[in-house]
């Protein structure tokens, strides 16, 4: 644990994060063939993301996102779009696993490039859901894993 409050905070909110929060990369939507969009929400706080992915020849040719949320969720999504562009599906899924391992305090952050800026989140378990919102949307878009929260719906 960093010693002073500010040190802990600086660790959580590295400059990279604040930068991606203020200046998100790859904002927007994708249409057209091969584009897949997923909306996801974090029920604990209301943060929302809409992620569009275009897969071409098994590669993530493009990713765009829109959403509203805290610096951690938005910066994480922004960093993700950069990190995943051009990866194959399998590579993206593997990267996601590596990223989640880092948030669980394990894994090798140094192999994650800019994403390592989010390693401080591991100290703040409640914020892990913020950091993974965009990634869970990605997993869902790739047709994989049980992403958070869609137990069912009710329309009155």
């Amino acid at each position: 644990m960093p010693e002073t409050p500010d040190a802990a905070l600086e660790e959580l909110y590295r400059e990279v994060i604040l930068d991606h929060y203020k200046h998100p990369r790859n904002r927007g939507r994708l249409d057209g063939p091969g584009a897949e969009a997923v909306e996801l929400q974090n029920p604990t706080c209301g943060d929302e993301i809409r992620l569009s992915v275009r897969v071409q020849d098994d590669r993530l040719a493009d990713l765009r996102f829109e959403g509203r949320g805290c610096s951690i969720s938005m910066a994480s999504a922004s960093l993700m779009t950069e990190a995943c562009r051009g990866l194959t599906r399998d590579e993206a899924v593997a990267l996601c696993a590596g990223f989640k391992a880092m948030l669980a305090g394990a894994g090798e952050p140094e192999r994650l490039g800019d994403l390592a800026a989010l390693s401080g989140v591991a100290q703040f378990p409640v914020r892990v859901k913020c950091a993974t919102l965009g990634w869970n949307a990605l997993l869902r878009a790739l047709g994989g894993g049980a992403a958070a929260g869609d137990g069912g719906a009710m329309d009155a």
Partner: protein, 422 residues
């Protein structure tokens, strides 16, 4: 309950420093700073009197209730039924007959929705709500509306956070089709105090039942079910200095009589055959299974605690803190306060948005200074949408909070803005 409006306390003004020692958790340090607990609308801290009441019950009298002849069983039954009486009187009722002990306010509201409304509503009937309800007083009505074909209607909330009562007639919101009028006595986001007496009276006039979600009013001021004129009223023990796992539905006894039980099981029956059963009397017919006896005893101790301190004095103290927070936060650059402006009645809480600092980030920052506030949708997503935000920050006060704590909050909110370069 006009928490801020009318405040000439009869006795000496209330000094929170004298009561802080009653709350063991306030000695706690967080990130090496003294805990500044400003999340009382989510749950309050417990005074020693409450912890001791529960503990004493378990160490001296613990037994199941109602069916035992042995001494402990008898003592437990007496303690439980005395707690019911005490809670009834705390709500201004003559006795405990209308008091049903449940898990929390949510369960109480669901009980009315499922046991009262589901069996009575027909397609075309209307349930009148407000768009600032906590999910616990919204989602059950959505569920029941879907089952019965009833329709939900909403009294609009104006920009000042007040209900637009004109709309009742103007938009035909209240009329012969209205079967239920359900609303928060105090909004957990805006702090708005709703005109509860008037709403109950108007509900009665059209033959609708009134349901008051008092989760945020009972903890802060005297609430009198007779004065309100409501049919049902719900609150949670844990938000009013009592233990978790106990909540109350108060129901006008005639209403409870006419209501079928929702859950079947032990305690709530009179006679059971293999294929059929008859019900026990009110209120026991709604309490299936072993109740949270220790929880009820703890809640009664919490009621006694605030009565002893003086509910009016506590209300005046909390109103002063709220005013201080409104002023202090209102002066922070980039801060927009939601809800009624200065001078309007308001509960003991303030929610705000700060330009460029997401509420989560703000809450995280404050936590590093030991200050606990809430950030999020406060279980009121529809209201968030009306406010045009996904989340807000909220500070909510309890009897042990001090002016110095409010000042610490305001200072930290200012510093957060710098930290996030907002």
């Amino acid at each position: 309950m006009a928490a801020v409006a009318a405040l000439p306390p009869k006795a000496a003004p209330f000094d929170p420093e004298t009561v802080r020692a009653d709350f063991p958790i306030l000695e706690r340090r967080v990130h090496d700073r003294p805990l500044v607990y400003l999340d009382n609308a989510a749950t309050t801290q417990k005074p020693r009197a409450v912890l001791d009441a529960e503990d004493r019950f378990y160490r001296r009298h613990n037994a199941n209730v109602h069916r035992a002849i042995h001494t402990l069983g008898n003592e437990a039954t007496v303690a439980y039924e005395q707690a019911r009486e005490a809670v009834g009187r705390h709500l201004g009722a003559a006795d405990g007959r209308g008091v049903v002990f449940l898990r929390n306010a949510t369960e109480a509201l669901n009980l009315v929705a499922w046991a009262w409304a589901r069996r009575r509503l027909r397609p075309g009937d209307e349930i009148l709500l407000t768009p600032m309800e906590h999910h616990s007083n919204l989602v059950p009505w959505q569920m029941v509306a879907r089952e019965t074909g009833a329709r939900l209607r909403f009294i609009p909330v104006g920009p000042d956070g007040a209900l637009e009562m004109d709309a009742l007639d103007r938009d035909g919101l209240l009329g012969p089709r209205t079967r239920v009028v359900a609303f928060a006595h105090c909004s957990n986001v805006l702090g708005t105090i709703t005109p509860a007496e008037e709403l109950c009276r108007r509900a009665r006039a059209v033959g609708a039942v009134s349901v008051v979600d008092a989760a945020q009013s009972v903890p802060h001021a005297p609430v009198d079910v007779g004065r309100l004129g409501c049919d049902f009223l719900a609150f949670s023990g844990h938000k009013t200095y009592g233990p978790m796992g106990v909540g109350v539905l108060w129901g006008r006894p005639e209403r409870l009589e006419a209501m079928e039980p929702l859950f079947g099981g032990g305690e709530m029956i009179l006679k059971v055959e293999l294929e059929s059963a008859t019900w026990n009397e009110v209120p026991w017919k709604f309490e299936a299974g072993t109740p949270n006896v220790a929880g009820a005893v703890g809640l009664a101790a919490a009621c006694a605690y605030v009565r002893d301190l003086g509910q009016d004095r506590i209300a005046a103290h909390e109103a002063a803190l709220t005013r201080l927070a409104l002023d202090g936060l209102g002066d922070c650059p980039g801060v927009t306060i939601h809800g009624p402006g200065p001078g309007s009645p308001r509960g003991a809480l303030v929610a705000w948005s700060a330009d460029g600092v997401h509420p989560h980030d703000l809450a995280q920052y404050l936590d590093q200074e030991g200050i606990a506030i809430r950030a999020g949708h406060h279980c009121a997503q529809p209201l968030m949408r009306q406010l045009g935000v996904v989340a807000t920050a909220r500070a909510s006060f309890g009897l042990y909070n001090t002016a110095a704590e409010v000042e610490a909050l305001v200072g930290a909110v200012r510093r957060a803005r710098e930290f996030f370069h907002a």
